[in-house]
Structures are given as structure tokens and as C-alpha cells.
Symmetry: C2
Subunit: 333 residues, 2 copies
């Protein structure tokens, strides 16, 4: 079925209000879940909503608490998320990074003791709506190995780069694992090969064959193998150092993936975007990418964010596609 964006926001908002969220927080959260779904990220949108509500209703989270300013490094502000609601904490800290960028050109906030922020790209798009480049990342539990080992030691640490453009932003929103655990599982269940290596075979070699991956060796490989594991370590340490929060190693010591550390950076480029020369520069880059010749058996090559914009356009024109059963579960909440 297809559901209008406004209707989806309204339904999410109703459920969140019934769950006890104050008006402003309920509407914002509803919008974040709907935006993810509208843009094609169902896994951090409609598919996650019912579980999120159950968790909030179980009472373990203070759903009203806001991030508290606990320190600073010059203009960098450090916040304690008090184990509050992940997406709202993240939105708060990107909003503050944007304010700092409006004052200083660049703004940076670091957040500790927060929870899963759902769709990372939301906070990059938030910066873009304010005429800023947005960069943010989070650490996670330990999933990925160093090159030459299968021991999970590194977070998949999703990172976002979002760049404003009149025709729609460029958006990189990626975990540092080549595939999510969910996608590895789906390929395995379907008996399909992966397009590129995503896990280990019995001998510890990267393989595209999910059948060759023994259960306990289904470890997501980092992007770029040794390169992605380095990147993961760097992002983890920077997040923990700037926020005063937990490293992926410390997150892993807990019972669940809670109390993570995040960084939000905004660059105010409104004055740059006003320059015709800079807009033309971006147009040329995008046109050149779009002139790429497709390989046989591949879809048309897309630049980062292009698929998202196409999905969004269709969602807004025809309604957001949702599985009937999933939606009926949400109407039952």
C-alpha cells in the first residue's frame, strides 16, 4: 500500500503522543521516522517504529530528558545525552552545531551517553536545510575485525556527509561495514551470492558466497578491508575523546548497544552557495558522474544521494510504499 507523507507523520505523532511524548518532541520524532521511510530507508523508519514504541513504553528511557551541556573545548560543545531518546538527542546536537556554524562558520558538538539515532542521514539533511554542510557519525558495538583476524573489535560506526545543492543534496550515509548484518542474513537465506565480498569462508578468506560463511563467522567486512577498519578506529576514538563518552569497546561491555558517542559538525556555506561559479562547479561534477557508461547487468550508475532523491520524489507524488501488514501493526499500536 501507499500512504501519504502527512498521513504517516500524523499516525506516528498520535502513537508517540499516546506514549507520553510532549507535543514538539512527538511531531519531530514522527517526522524523523517518516522522512527515513519517504527517502527509502525503511529499516530505520517504518520497520523500526513499532519496536521503538515498545521500547519507550517499557519504561527504561526518560523520554523527556534533553542533552545537557557538560563542558566545552573552545567553541566545541560537549553534551551528555542522559541515555535519552537517540533521534531527539542527535537532532538537538546537530541543531546546536548549526547554530554554532552560523556564528563561527564551523560548529561542532559532541554527545555522550546517547542511544541509537535511527537513520543517520536525517541529521545531515537537517544541516543542509540550514544551508550547511553536515558531517556526523556515531560509534556502535563491536562488529568488524582488523584485517587478518575474524575477531569483532571495531564498530560499524555509521558516518554521514551531506552537501546542499539546489537540485537536492548529495548524501553519503553509510556504515563502515560493506553490508549490514541484516543484508548478509537475507542473501544467505535466499541462497544468493553477494555482488562483492561481505564475509569470511571457513579458511578466513573474504567471500561473496553466503553459504560458505559459517554462522559464527558471519562478520561484516569493513569497507576497504584494512582501510575501513582504520577509519572505524579513528571515528570511534574521536567521538569518545571529543564527547568524553564511551568507545565501541566500552559500548560492547554493556548488555545492549546503548550509551554511544556521537559527533556533529556543520559548515555554514550559505554565502558560497550564493556564488554562481560554485553552483556551476557542482552541476558540472554531477553531470559528469551522470554521463558514466553503465556496465552490462548493472543499473544506471548513480551518485551518492541520487537514488534517495528519486525515491523521495516518488513517495511524495504517489505516497510512501509500506507493507500492509507492517502498517496495520502500526495502526494497532
Amino acid at each position: 500500500m501507499r500512504i501519504g507523507y502527512d498521513e504517516m507523520v500524523r499516525r506516528f505523532d498520535e502513537v508517540l503522543t499516546e506514549t507520553g511524548f510532549s507535543e514538539a518532541r512527538s511531531v519531530l520524532l514522527a517526522r524523523l521516522f517518516a522522512d527515513a521511510t519517504r527517502d527509502g530507508v525503511q529499516s530505520h523508519g517504518v520497520l523500526r517504529f513499532a519496536g521503538f514504541i515498545r521500547q519507550m513504553r517499557s519504561g527504561g528511557t526518560d523520554i523527556q530528558v534533553e542533552p545537557e551541556l557538560v563542558g566545552n573545548l573552545g567553541i566545541i560543545e560537549q553534551y551528555d545525552g542522559h541515555m535519552g531518546v537517540g533521534p531527539l538527542n542527535a537532532h538537538f546536537c546537530m541543531a546546536r552545531a548549526i547554530e554554532l556554524a552560523k556564528e563561527n562558520g564551523i560548529g561542532c558538538t559532541a554527545l555522550r551517553n546517547t542511544n541509537h539515532w535511527m537513520r543517520p542521514g536525517n541529521y545531515g539533511l537537517q544541516a543542509v536545510e540550514a544551508g550547511c554542510i553536515g558531517i556526523c557519525w556515531t560509534n556502535t558495538r563491536q562488529f568488524m575485525p582488523l584485517w587478518g583476524s575474524m575477531d569483532p573489535k571495531l564498530g560499524s560506526n555509521p558516518i554521514v556527509f551531506c552537501i546542499p545543492r539546489e537540485e537536492g543534496p548529495v548524501l553519503v550515509d553509510m556504515a563502515l561495514s560493506q553490508y549490514s548484518m541484516g543484508r548478509l542474513g537475507r542473501h544467505r537465506k535466499a541462497g544468493e551470492r553477494l555482488p562483492v565480498p561481505g564475509g569470511y569462508d571457513l579458511d578466513g578468506n573474504p567471500t561473496t558466497d553466503p553459504e560458505a560463511m559459517v554462522e559464527e563467522r558471519v562478520r561484516p567486512l569493513p569497507i576497504g578491508y584494512w582501510k575501513g577498519s582504520g577509519l572505524s578506529l579513528a571515528l570511534d576514538l574521536i567521538a569518545a575523546l571529543l564527547s568524553g563518552g564511551k568507545s565501541a569497546y566500552q559500548v560492547e561491555q554493556q548488555d545492549a548497544e546503548i550509551s554511544v558517542s556521537q559527533v556533529f559538525i556543520a559548515f555554514d556555506i550559505e554565502s558560497v552557495l550564493a556564488q554562481q561559479d560554485r553552483r556551476a562547479m557542482m552541476d558540472d561534477v554531477i553531470a559528469d558522474l551522470q554521463s558514466s557508461q553503465s556496465l552490462e547487468g548493472h543499473e544506471r550508475p548513480r551518485y551518492a544521494g541520487e537514488g534517495m532523491l528519486e525515491h523521495r520524489r516518488r513517495s511524495l507524488e504517489e505516497g510512501i510504499e509500506v507493507n500492509d501488514e507492517i502498517w496495520s501493526r502500526i495502526t494497532d499500536l
Copy 2:
């Protein structure tokens, strides 16, 4: 042969002085080439020195020109490198980012119209020596394709993350291509398979077999395939937007890889490094990584920067290893 660090700096300095560099610039440049070599990055150190000197002596570069402050976005400073000496321009801009970080907690400079900076990691290490986290990147010519194409459209855009630690920094210093063109060529010449896919076969599939890569299809694959190409685009646009400089697409329109755009970011964390808890956090992360079990046939897994520190220790104790012929070419300069 092995050459002491001081001797290497002295010899480089002599040649640079003879080439016309002023005293301070000659010593600094000598140190940058020697540091790269000491740390195991010969390809951007001793192996590149003779060619660099020939280029400087050919007269196309103003070897005295310094970056000029041409604009700002709040505290972000924009510099024009005036097509000067790449490593000195980069060092200048990271030094200025560090100064800004000492004032503001975070510092950022963007540099346009500059040339190859040689070893990227040098500028991260420069930040670390000042008690800062250093992040920097450059754009390049177009080497890498979008996923689903073989057309080279994206820069390999090397990026650096460097994090201070008493026992030696964590250093990520990587191009976004899985392999350099040089390494692809060496494997091909030697008839050796790559450990992970690095180029395309006749059908456009990623392959580890250099023999299967047709000459004109030897395109370096981005790390993480579709993910690395997104990252490359983001870094390219951010560098061009913040600096007002050229995109990779514009760099490619020229006869050579010149006039690139770069970004330098420093976070002053001296006060954080003074905290015992934060030092322990880093020690725990590193110890955990070092406890990784090796897979058969693999070297001991190393964290990012560990191999560099080992190489440096040996270079300082026993002298820096250099090929005799290469060194004699330098003594002949």
C-alpha cells in the same frame, strides 16, 4: 643501505638549498621527505625526492610563494596556494588550523590552487605534535568509477585522521582507492593475485587477478565499492566549496594533476589528553585490538598506525633503509 635520520635531512636540505629554497623552507621540506621515509612511506619520501627536485629546477613553480589568505567563512580561513610548493603549502595551512584550534577548540583552513602534498600523513602528525586531532584531505585527478561503470570519474582523494596518544599516534592515511595504480601494476608484473579485488575483468566484474585486468580497464576500485565512491564525491565537493578551488573534474581538465583543493581541520584536545580516564580509554581500545587472533597465513593484525610506529622505531635505531641506487641518485643531485 641504512642512513641516519639526521644525515638524510641534511642531504635533502643541501639539495633543496642548492635548488633555491630559503633556509627555513628548505629545512622543513627536507624534514617532510625524511619523515615519510623514516615512517615507511618511501613512495612519498626518498623515492619521490629526485623527481621533485627536477620539477622545482625546471622553473615552472614559484618556490618562495606562500599561501595567501583570500577569504573566510567565519573562523574558517580560505587560502590561495598560488600553485606553490605542495608540501609547504599544506604544512602552512595545517599550522594555521592548529593556531585556530588553540584559540577556538576547532580550527579549519581550506586551500585552493595547490600542488601534490606528498605524504598526507605528515600533516596529521603535525597536528598531533601540537596536542590536536588532525583531519585533512585533498582532491586529485579522476581515477575511480561509480559502481556499475568503469569510467574514471572520481578522485582517489587521500584523507588523514591522526589522533594523539602518549605511546604514539593512531594514524589513518589512505587514498580512497583500494590499491594505488603503482601497486596494481606491481602485482600485475609479478603475476600475483591481489588479496582482495582491485580492478575489473573483461566483463566488468571486480577481480583479484591482475592478469584478467585489461590495460585500459585497470581502474582502481574505490574502498567499499559504492560506499567509497560516495565518500570520494563528498570530500571532493567539500574541498572545492570550502576553498573556492577546483573539483576533481576540473583538475582532470588540466594537462597534469595540479591546482588541487585541500581541507585541514584540527581539534585541540590537550585538556582531554590530561585526563587519566581518557588515556585509559584509548589504552583499552588499543589493547583490545592487539588481542585479536590472527588468521592462518596472515601477519599479526595491526591497528592503524602501529606498523608506522614499528617502522619508525627501527629507522631511528638502525637508520632508515634506502635502496643504494636511489640514494646515489640523490647524492648526485
